[in-house]
């Protein structure tokens, strides 16, 4: 036996996407746990009995909400509902006053109402028009044009209705015809000119954007590349300093060209590692090659990891920098970060480190252990030393 309690029954929602019209019958059927065909038949029978089904359907359409995330955004839908509801209530009030006899005349009131609605739309459109410097989304521009056009049509329609109901449209017909003919003729004459003007404006705008981009590029090249080249000329006698300057400039230029929205070191482990490598490279003049795979959030654990990596890089640069570049490889995946710092030096025995040398023991091994991580030092394949740092339970 099928039992549907209030707790398990779906919320009453229309389904316009799958329903035949507005999805009212489908929504009611789902809520009641019956076949949608039965609800549809009930509405059809009610519609045949004096049109009651149609009225009930319209009321249900207004009363039953569409599912969240429907095509129309919530705020816009709410505004449209308020506007439509207010308009219908106003219409009901006017019709009631008319029925009670508190009425001037149809020839006056309806044109005034139409003109007021059209004027209201135009006023609202002018009030919400964006500043020229802003570039609103295309959909908003289209909505504004439709709203403004609808407002103009209502005001013009109200004027015509007023003239018609007061018998003044007959004499005015010749004037209106002349105005329409002149307007069409002017449009035909001016259309090519206006089209060319619009095209020129668009080209001018594109040229202005290109010019701004060129100016920005020139300013950046002046502030970075040209300044670095001047420094390189000054320090031409120090190859290591020149190499360091060149690598720093290369990093900065690559980041500006291909990764302008890269996260900052305070928000990304990969960025923190790159910043630490750059610092060590600049301080010791030894190239550090960085490769990162994946990324992780910065927290106490990863801050400690970056500090340990910095210490390992510093050791490698100090004691094995002459043997070649230092390699830093970091991989973040599945709540786990693994970092390898590898140099090409002569290597060393961690057990033989004197007791008063606390760099490796405290700053790397003990620091990682305090944060639940692990550090291991072993000979690198092909010579040199590899420091392996592992941290678990990281937010990647």
């Amino acid at each position: 036996m099928k039992v549907m309690s209030a707790a398990t029954a779906p919320a009453l929602r229309r389904d316009p996407a799958q329903g035949i019209a507005a999805g009212v019958c489908l929504g009611l059927a789902r809520r009641l746990g019956v076949d949608p065909l039965a609800v549809r038949l009930a509405f059809v029978v009610a519609a045949a009995a004096g049109g009651l089904g149609i009225v009930a359907y319209v009321i249900a359409w207004a009363a039953i909400p569409a599912p969240a995330g429907a095509a129309v955004p919530g705020a816009r839908r709410a505004r449209a509902q308020v506007a439509a509801g207010g308009g219908l209530l106003m219409l009901a009030l006017l019709l009631s006053l008319r029925e009670l006899g508190l009425w001037f005349s149809d020839a006056l009131v309806w044109p005034v109402v139409l003109a007021a609605v059209g004027g209201g739309l135009l006023w609202r459109q002018s009030r919400t028009s964006p500043l020229p410097s802003e570039s609103p989304p295309r959909a908003e521009v289209a909505a504004g044009v439709y709203r403004g056009g609808f407002g103009v049509a209502l005001v013009v329609g109200a004027g015509l209705l007023f003239l018609q109901t007061n018998g003044a449209l007959g004499p005015a017909r010749d004037v209106i015809l002349a105005v329409v003919v002149i307007t069409v003729a002017l449009a035909l004459v001016l259309a090519p000119l206006l089209w060319r003007l619009g095209r020129n404006l668009a080209e001018e705008r594109s040229e202005r954007i290109r010019s701004q981009e060129r100016a920005e590029l020139a300013a950046h090249l002046h502030d970075s590349v040209l300044q670095t080249l001047a420094l390189v000329q000054k320090r031409a006698d120090d190859p290591r300093a020149v190499a360091t300057l060149a690598r720093r400039q290369e990093r900065e230029l690559r980041a500006w060209l291909w990764d302008p929205g890269a996260p900052t070191p305070d928000a990304s482990l990969a960025a923190s590692l790159r910043a630490a490598a750059a610092d060590v490279e600049e301080a010791h003049g030894v190239p550090v090659e960085v490769v990162t795979v994946g990324d992780a959030h910065v927290d106490d654990g990863t801050i400690a990891l970056v500090a340990a990596v910095r210490e390992a890089l510093t050791n490698a640069a100090k004691f094995a920098g002459d043997a070649g570049p230092v390699a830093l490889y970091a991989e973040s995946a599945d709540d786990r970060v693994q970092v390898f710092v590898r140099d090409r030096g002569a290597g060393f025995d961690p057990a033989a480190i004197p007791g008063d040398r606390r760099g490796v023991r405290d700053s790397i091994i003990a620091r990682m252990a305090r944060h639940g991580g692990h550090a291991a030092i072993h000979p690198a394949p092909g010579g040199g030393t590899e420091v392996e740092l592992t941290l678990e339970n990281v937010s990647t």
Binding site: V55, V58, I59, A62, A63, P65, G74, A75, R77, A78, R79, A80, Q81, V82, A83, A84, G85, G86, G87, L88, L89, M90, L91, A92, L93, L95, S96, R98, E99
Partner: protein, 60 residues
């Protein structure tokens, strides 16, 4: 936990009850609901439901 009142549903229910009462009174000849009164009654019903729904959706 105490449930929040759904104002839109409440207003919708009340105005539909009012409309139903009017139609019932017309049916039993207590009042004469002519077309001139039926249209504003329907427009008012739908308008009140839409307005209440829109205001309820707009408020956070």
């Amino acid at each position: 936990m105490r449930e929040r009142i759904d104002i839109a549903s409440l207003v919708a229910g009340l105005v539909i009850i009012a409309l139903g009462t009017l139609l019932l009174l017309d049916r039993v000849d207590v009042l004469d609901l002519r077309f001139g009164w039926l249209v504003p009654a329907l427009a008012g019903t739908i308008g009140a439901i839409l307005l209440a729904g829109g205001l309820a959706n707009r408020s956070p």
